[in-house]
Amino acid sequence: MTKVLIIAEHDGSALNPSTAKCVSCAAAIDGAEIDIAVLAADTTGIAAEAAELEAVSRVLTIERAENEKPITAKLAPQIAAIAGDYSHIMGPSTTFGKDLMPHVAALLGVNQVSDIMTVENSHTFKRPVYAGNAIVTVEAPAGSTVVATVRVASWQAANGGNSATIAPLDAAAELPMHTRYVSLESAASDRPDLQTAAKVVAGGRALGSEEQFGLIYQLADALGAGVGASRAAVDAGYCPNELQVGQTGKIIAPDLYIAIGISGAIQHVTGIKDAGTIVAINKDEEAPIFEVADIGMVGDLFQILPELIDAVN
């Protein structure tokens, strides 16, 4: 029997949308019974959100002061302790899940299936390799637990409207003290979150400075879009690291992605392959970004952007 345990991602008070995408992936396995585990210091609000997700049977809450911050060294032993009944344990392939799930897999003595794009059957999945330049079908061994991360950009969020049972659980595990959370530095903004935004405006090296990168924010605000960036723009300090899109940044699937002054290196393009419409603005007509763009415009971004911002406003 297929019993899936999904590890909820949250910020201490609200559920991260990546969890609803994991639910969709789990529900793609025939006959799967789906539970969600919420590990937090206070699980109330998070568990209530998780219980609304379609196809979820139970939400299991593990409330402990040590679960206030997502420290893998503390979370993983608790997850391993409750893994026994499950055929599958899944988490999102966000930095939270990427940090946590392989550790859980090793505690259970299995390899992990990373970044599930599609489910073929309970043990067979498709996943990207080589920065998305190849897709491989993999088969996890029968008879051992499948531990996996879900490529969130490949899945729609599960619908709400459910009211799954919420039950507290005791995960007896001794937790190490050797890893301590210090702080989180986050460039808070009111803009739509890059990972879930329907529209994203992204800037590259061509923006030239932090100040001029402001043009990207202006266009994003005019469109009600989130903001992304190439690695070169982040490396140059034009914008914070959490805006990086690509193989080593965020993999996203907005309805609209506007790439401005971005050349379109494979490591960048792998992060936007699932976008609905890609628009590219670049002064070099040979730039590889045009090969994947639905709408291309060749020209100087410093001339185009002010005009475009005006037109949208």
Partner: protein, 249 residues
């Protein structure tokens, strides 16, 4: 801290446009340029800087692979690693077994740090560091973009989805490094000559008493669904019109 172990994986160079073999058995590697996984090179650079700061005495580069990986280890030695170990395997080996190799070596060498890339750009798995931390029972700090050694602990800045997270870990610990941690040094010709004299030990996997368990089987490789090149517009008005057409503005 005495020793730092650094993992160096031989992978298809990041500039190569990877092609799937026509029979779907893998990707074309014949005649393709191979390099150190870029993240591993950054791990090595950081280990060398830690040693140069006086916080460690020896940097040991480790690769697990066929004898061809000697090439990447020699490059690592030329960058400044003191010695190298190649654990030889016949074909591919799974992440969990690799983590077991690093655990065995970390214990044997009494390493203070094991530094790995946050992912290898071939399989893009991002698993080994986390698995090693679990098996070894030591802290992990993944996706590091800043590392400061403070006596028996390390302060690590991590690139996470929400921004920059700082954690403190007791040593020994496992770090996986991200691209913005540093810029690796260039290897100079005299260093390549010197590297030829540095020790590079080979040992078969079985010598560590490790037998790979059940693996995740790769059934079939395929090229991804491509995107088609679309239309070109000449002015902002046409761009806005095209977006309006699609209901995007």
């Amino acid at each position: 801290m005495d020793k730092i172990i650094v993992g160096l994986k031989r992978v298809v160079d990041y500039n190569v446009r990877v092609q799937v073999k026509s029979d779907g058995s893998g990707v074309e590697t014949d005649g393709v340029k191979m390099s150190i996984n870029p993240f591993d090179e950054i791990a090595l650079e950081e280990a060398l800087r830690i040693k140069e700061s006086g916080a460690a005495t020896e940097v040991v580069a480790v690769s697990i692979g066929t004898s061809e990986s000697q090439q990447q280890l020699r490059t690592g030695l030329a960058m400044g690693a003191d010695r190298a170990i190649l654990v030889t395997v016949d074909g591919d080996i799974d992440p969990l077994s690799i983590a077991r190799v690093f655990k065995a070596l970390a214990e044997k060498e009494s390493a203070g740090l094991v530094m790995l890339g946050k992912q290898a750009i071939d399989g893009d798995n991002s698993q080994v560091a986390q698995m090693l931390a679990a098996l070894w029972g030591r802290p992990q700090a993944t996706f590091a973009s800043g590392v400061t050694i403070e006596g028996d602990s390390a302060r690590v800045v991590r690139e996470v989805d929400a921004g920059l997270e700082t954690v403190e870990v007791d040593l020994p610990a496992v770090l996986s490094v991200d691209l913005r941690l540093n810029e690796p040094r260039y290897v100079k010709l005299p260093d390549i000559m010197k590297a030829k004299k540095k020790p590079l030990d080979e040992m078969p996997l079985a010598d560590l008493g490790i037998e790979p368990g059940p693996v995740i089987k790769e059934l079939q490789y395929a090229a991804p669904e491509g995107r088609q090149r679309g239309v070109t517009v000449d002015d902002v008005a046409s761009l806005v019109a095209a977006l309006k057409d699609k209901g995007l503005v």
